[in-house]
Amino acid sequence: MALKNPDNKTIAWIKAGVFLLALVPLVKLGVRGYFDLLGANPIEKITRTTGYWTLVMLMITLAATPLRRILGWAWLIRLRRMLGLFAFFYGTLHFLTYVVLDQFFDWPSIVKDIVKRPYITVGFPSFLLMIPLALTSTDRITRWLGGKRWRMLHRLVYLIAVGGVVHFWWLVKKDITELATFAAVLAILLGVRLFYRLRRFIQEKLMARAALL
């Protein structure tokens, strides 16, 4: 099947397409901002939109590995870094919107928020944890770290994703539809991993026992 084993050229095209698609939310935001279509509270709208797309990108990034497994599309892994970097990109925009537009560098108020507001207490470190992952995303650093250490470090993404959903959870006033969707998707993405891990664990046990017999 063509989708299973595309050649390098096709993958490059897919990558370019995904790159452009991932920029659509930002372009939309920019266009709406330019034409003054962000509504009565533009800062709130920008904060919500960038936060929303940070979570979406995180979920899509986390979907790459299980999808590769289920569909057998090995090349999906080659999109994962770019998707993760987009999550970091929108997360950075979200963070900067808060610091610059929302608080306008009111550091005492920002510090107070981080200490006192649970949703920021969990959201802020979740963002900070994305930084080492972004910094260690190049081939050179990955090689320098070594695969094992790199994988250990990048398991932080699970913490970041959970933190991101909890951050959203503690901020929602009443309507949890969107939040519940994110929580369910994350539960599935983490559940699939748990399933594969358990299965491997059991298989290894059985093999070990078989070897003994």
Binding site: G39, A40, N41, I43, E44, L101, Q103, F104, S109, K112, D113, K116, R117, P118, Y119, W170, L171, K173, K174, D175
Partner: protein, 310 residues
């Protein structure tokens, strides 16, 4: 079957087309005009309200533009998004509309909305509106003090609180198909709060009848409390002895208290209330105690611990 070719009517007997339509138009016009003359004039959302006096209860602050006031709303009966009410409130029918005033009163009465409109002279008052979500507006409301209505129904000595009940009709209010809050929306005030001249029984804004998304055909506006205390699309006003439980208090008692006075020193458990963003402004401004109406209302709460009675 074969149709007959001749009708048996002379051409001269046929009324010319233009004349036929002219006559028909005339009939329609006169019928419409006489019908309109027979019926009392009905007011519809967007209609200008006449004979409105300017009120001294006016803050000298820049008004929030009409489009923002009418397109950025929290009105969960029409959806939980800020733009949902403007989009979905078209299904609300505000005429005919009655308001039942009942409970601990000597003169319980069912008021027709157009009768209520004429109960007292309409005033335009420019109030600040502070939402519990830390944004604010400045709105020119039209109405009269709720006390005008209260005086007429003569509350008994047992009337300690006033409860406001909004319309409950998922057909007209599609947001009620979701159980995000318990419907109907209920709010309440203590009797002295309800009698305070600032508490406005509101029919309009910006010189016209309330748009549906702003709580048509009538709402209350309590400018020193967070916006959710000001019940919209009210169908029932009940005078009671026990403190009523509002929809928001019921949904999260630790977050939304009965009083819900604007208070920069008492934070919402999950976010700060010290500052607010006035829509249209970039930098946040400091939130004022009682939303800047402390001089008029602070004495209502003398001796109370407002961090407990939040």
């Amino acid at each position: 079957m074969k149709a007959s070719k001749t009708t048996g009517i002379n051409a001269s007997e046929i009324t010319p087309r233009e004349l036929f339509y002219a006559r028909r138009r005339f009939m329609q016009m006169t019928a419409g005009a006489s019908l309109a003359a027979l019926l009392p004039r009905q007011l519809w959302a967007g209609d200008k309200l006449a004979g409105v006096q300017k009120s001294a209860y006016t803050v000298p602050e820049e008004l929030t533009p009409y489009d923002d006031v009418t397109q950025y709303n929290n009105f969960y009966e029409f959806g939980t998004g800020k733009e949902d009410p403007a989009r979905n409130a078209g299904s609300l029918k505000t005429r005919p509309w009655t308001v039942t005033v009942e409970g601990e009163v000597s003169n319980p009465k069912v008021f027709d909305i157009d009768e209520l409109l004429k109960l007292a002279p309409l005033e335009e008052r420019v109030y600040r509106l502070r939402c519990v979500e830390a944004w604010s507006m400045v709105i020119p409301w039209i109405g009269f003090s709720l006390s005008e209505l209260i005086k007429r129904v003569e509350p008994t000595s047992k009337a300690k609180f006033v409860e406001f009940i909004s319309l409950n009709d998922p057909e007209q209010m599609p947001g009620q198909k979701s159980s995000v809050l318990e419907w109907p929306y209920r709010e309440g005030l203590r009797m002295d709060e309800a009698m305070h001249p600032l508490t406005l029984l509101t029919f309009g804004l910006y010189g016209e009848l309330l748009p549906n998304q702003n709580g048509a055909p009538l709402r209350i506006v309590v400018p020193w409390k967070y916006g959710f205390k000001s019940a919209k699309s009210i169908v029932r006003i009940r005078f009671v002895e026990q403190q009523p439980i509002s929809s928001w208090t019921q949904s999260a008692p630790s977050e939304y208290g009965f009083y819900s006075n604007v208070n920069p020193d008492v934070d919402h458990p999950r976010w700060s209330q010290a500052k607010e963003r006035r829509l249209g402004e970039f930098l946040k401004r400091k939130t004022l105690p009682f939303n800047g109406y402390g001089e008029q209302v602070a004495q209502l709460y003398a001796g109370m611990d407002l961090s407990k009675d939040f």
